[in-house]
Amino acid sequence: MNVIGDPNQAASAGEEAGLDPREAVKILEQAKRQAQRQFNPQPPLLVVVGAALVFLFGYGAVWWSMRDQHPYSSGPALWSLAVLYGLIAISAIAGSVVFGRAQSGVGGRARRQQQIQGVAFAAAGIGAWVVEGALRYRGVSFEIVYGVYGPTVPLIALIAVAAGINAMRESWLELGVCIGIIAVASVSTFFGPLGAWGLTGLGCCLVLLAYAAALVVQQRRA
């Protein structure tokens, strides 16, 4: 159905005659790059560095509040959890603004895929937290449930979903970042509560800073 009306502005459309083929190639490449950048944006450098700082200061705050607990006793201080969740909230808002801007005006299959991805993230997060509750219910110690499982397994579950999405998109750099975060979080569980919070925070921060550096290199090459 043709619903685009006739605006009587055909003259303004300008049939640019005699377009040079080399110029056409240039226009084609520029338009392709611009569209790919706008529809599938790599997160801006600021967002990546921000996420790195969330790991460093959020996880770092929790580690700091527990650093003298040998053995694990009262767990993280409330102020440190407030810092962690506050930073996560700010980071989530910034990420959703960037993603929302990229997908503005795009509909059809892409919109359905976003909804399905949202369901996958929700399922992974809820599943991981339900298991955390179940472990505590079954009498597993606070040290393991909140000290080791809490900072790592929900993160691994959420990042595994992100890894799957990036693999489908063939976004290899982002897939590598996801694998790096999963590796850091998994290995850190060997080092107890302090290791889980401290190493996950520091390691994920470094992975994200390396990603930021790779983005800078990519942008310069482009």
Binding site: V3, I4, S12, A31, G108, R109
Partner: protein, 104 residues
């Protein structure tokens, strides 16, 4: 002696604005739609200019447009058809062949 021929460039696509429109829509997955407003912002064209080019592409069945309700009123959405995608691929190939022939 070589007898290779160079395909002519599709004159409907061989116009900067229409080439940009098709390339932008082709960057979406098959079946995805793009709102008129977003397309206009991305290409930095006036509404009248964009409508004129879209109409020509729609007449050639390179794209489809329809009005939908988005909750805040009616909005026009545009989709690249398979025919449009194939035409852009053929144009790109023809351009490559032409430039290959022109290259020193």
């Amino acid at each position: 002696m070589s007898t290779s021929t160079v395909e002519p460039l599709d004159p409907l696509i061989h116009v900067p604005a229409r080439l940009r429109i098709l390339v932008t829509l082709a960057a979406l997955n098959e079946g995805d739609t793009l709102s008129f407003t977003r397309l206009q912002k991305m290409l930095d064209l006036t509404p009248g200019n964009l409508i004129t080019h879209l109409r020509k592409l729609e007449d050639a069945r390179y794209l489809k447009s329809e009005k939908t309700s988005d909750g805040n009123g009616l909005t026009t959405i545009v989709t690249l058809t398979r025919r449009g995608r194939a035409a852009l691929d053929a144009y790109t190939e023809a351009l490559r062949n032409l430039l290959g022939g022109l290259a020193p």
